[in-house]
Amino acid sequence: MKPKVAFFDFACCEGCQLQVANLEEDILGLVNLVDVVEFREVLTGSAPEYDVSFIEGSITRPEDEARLRDIRSRSKVLVSYGACAATGGVNKIKNLWGNIDKVKKEVYDKDAAMPHLETYPTKAVHEVVKVDYFVHGCPITRSEFLKVVKALVFGTTPDIPQYPVCVECKMLGNECMYDKGGVCLGPVTRAGCNAICPSNNVSCEGCRGAVPNPNNNAMHEVLAKYKLSVDDIKRQFTMYALDPEVGK
């Protein structure tokens, strides 16, 4: 029997589920492998339980936390996909304000106290429920998503890179963003995007989160070489909620 697969989203732009639609002809192949039973943006239908649930978006309200726990309880495997789910992504920038009431006031002004606008500091999916696998990126990389789905269908463990973006960037022969006068998070960010930003002349912003066991010394050497301080790059770490410990 084909595995029953479902897609859900919380606070996000839904750009990662669009990458699934953007697989184009490959989706037609994918629906031969799996049975998509719930996917609000694409189809009408629901199911009581799922073999694999894909969760997109961050958790910002008690009712969303309850909905996520319910989905988890009905899912054999749960995948947190896209930066908003996997790290909290740009949604965590609001946490830096330290005071949620001020955040609400900035956006809703005199209406900020309306009960339906309640929100709390953003949480990534794994900060609420157990996550079995992650697909990183803002947005996710289509080929990596396909790789994860195939691995799950065939019962193997998806092979996700454990090395930094710099490795991919160097293999492509790109000129280093630091040599161009930029400040790039490639040395500490998890690879898997094929260094897409530096390849387009834009510094890595760290959307895929920190690589496991980042080499802090190497990062400091890079900063020293280009006469930069930790403060020069600190703000960039806050774009996609990269662990600030990495920069210390």
Binding site: A11, Y108, N201
Partner: protein, 426 residues
């Protein structure tokens, strides 16, 4: 339940972007409740960008929307460029217009083919159509792929473009890549004609419902407005400068929605493909005009379900205009244009037509180029009140059709607006 009592409670309408609910109560033939509500989680983008450097503002606000990230990118860059007094080159303008068309084509094809067509063919999704209407589905996929690959080639990535920056592009496509695209766009013309014929064959299934409303879009003396323009409303003589957008949008909170609502001269107005068509149809290029006539779309059209038909017409428009821009770039040759700018204190407003309608970004910067205030007004914000008022008229008019048909009509109405609900909540 007697036949004149109907209860409709659609929790999370399917085949739309984001979370929206429909509630209808009819008791003893009397309509008690008709409610379009949005429970989407707000993300607080206007607070996120406060304190950020000008170069980080567009990468952040692009993330408001996965489907129209290119439109957000350009509204954002135009607002910042206006604040800093930056003018862009003709090459940059043409490349941006290609991306703007690529996104509209991608989004419209997705809506028409994947989200709306299943209703007209009486199925729950595009998946069964891959077996029953294989040729039509493959055609939709082919056009969708072309639109996405155009944005990959020109913008570096289709969702959250990478190469677009304040003042220009960090990298430009090669002439070989542009020539390859041109050939594909030329061969897309017959594909679009086939798609229009498929839509025509099922368009009789669109409900016959009319409600006259105010239509707001950009307008541009030079062409059918998307990237450039000033504000036009069917209720106002003459155009309104973009920096006076607050006169038009008048956003307000409402307890049934976490997204703000908007109104101008009436209780609601409509933005999107149908508004653009009603305001600017005389400027459509020849083939788009012919397709509109063939599909029975004539201005002023006040049937909101025909927004989907207007999107088909705009797909043709986008292909015709993209060919023109590609040809121009190939003739002139593309070159790397280094960009440099100096931030200055001030405020700037940017407006662009995106798939679902007119989009505004408004930023204030300090002298170091740090953002101190932001406001983003999304097309779907501007459509929420209009959806509610359409429902208010539609339910009494069609309540005798019974629950199932009424519910389908209401869901189809929401889908016709192709709402970007999470984007409107941002």
């Amino acid at each position: 339940m007697s036949s004149n009592a109907i209860h409709i409670d659609v929790h999370h309408v399917t085949r739309v972007e984001g979370h929206g609910n429909i509630l209808v109560d009819i008791d003893n033939g009397e309509v008690k409740t008709v409610r379009w509500s949005v429970p989407e989680a707000p993300r607080f983008f206007e607070a996120m960008v406060v304190g950020r450097d000008c170069t980080e503002v567009q990468p952040i606000t692009s993330r408001i929307c996965g489907i129209c990230s290119i439109g957000h990118t350009f509204s954002s860059l135009k607002a910042t460029e206006s604040a800093f007094g930056i003018t862009i080159s003709e090459q940059t303008r043409r490349l941006r217009k290609i991306l703007n068309h690529g996104e509209n084509l991608q989004s419209h094809i997705l809506h028409v083919g994947y989200l709306a067509l299943p209703d007209l063919l009486k199925v729950g999704s595009v998946i069964p159509l891959a077996t029953t209407h294989k040729d039509a589905v493959l055609l939709v996929v082919k056009l969708h792929r072309l639109a996405n690959e155009t944005c990959d080639i020109v913008g570096g990535r289709t969702t959250h473009p990478i190469r677009t920056c304040i003042g220009g592009f960090t990298k430009v496509p090669t002439e070989k890549e542009l020539a390859g695209l041109l050939a594909r766009f030329e061969s897309a013309i017959p594909d679009l004609k086939t798609l229009a014929a498929v839509v025509k064959s099922v368009a009789g299934g669109l409900p016959d419902f009319v409600r006259e409303t105010e239509y707001v879009s950009l307008t541009d003396p030079a062409e059918y407005a998307l990237y450039d323009g000033i504000i036009k409303s069917t209720d106002v003589e003459g155009a309104i400068p973009v920096d006076q957008y607050l006169r038009v949008t008048n956003e307000y909170m409402n307890s049934q929605s976490t997204a703000k609502w908007a109104k101008f001269n009436r209780e609601s107005y409509m933005a999107g493909a149908l508004a653009r068509f009603n305001n600017n149809h005389t400027q459509l290029p020849p083939l788009a005009k012919a397709v509109a006539a063939d599909l029975g779309l004539a201005a002023p059209c006040c049937n909101p379900y025909f927004n989907t038909v207007a999107q088909v017409v705009e797909c043709v428009h986008s292909v015709e205009k993209t060919i023109e821009h590609l040809q121009w770039l190939i003739d002139k040759g593309v070159k790397n244009e280094p960009v440099s700018f100096k931030p200055r204190e001030g405020r700037g407003v940017g407006a662009v037509e995106v798939p679902r309608g007119i989009l505004f970004h408004d930023y204030t910067y300090d002298k170091n180029g740090k953002c101190v205030k932001a406001n983003c007004i999304i097309p779907t914000n501007q459509n929420h009140a209009n959806i509610q008022l359409d429902m208010d008229k539609l339910v009494p008019q069609f309540k005798d059709r019974g629950k199932d048909e009424l519910q389908l009509m209401l869901e189809m109405l929401v889908r016709a607006y192709d709402p970007c609900i999470s984007c409107s909540t941002h």
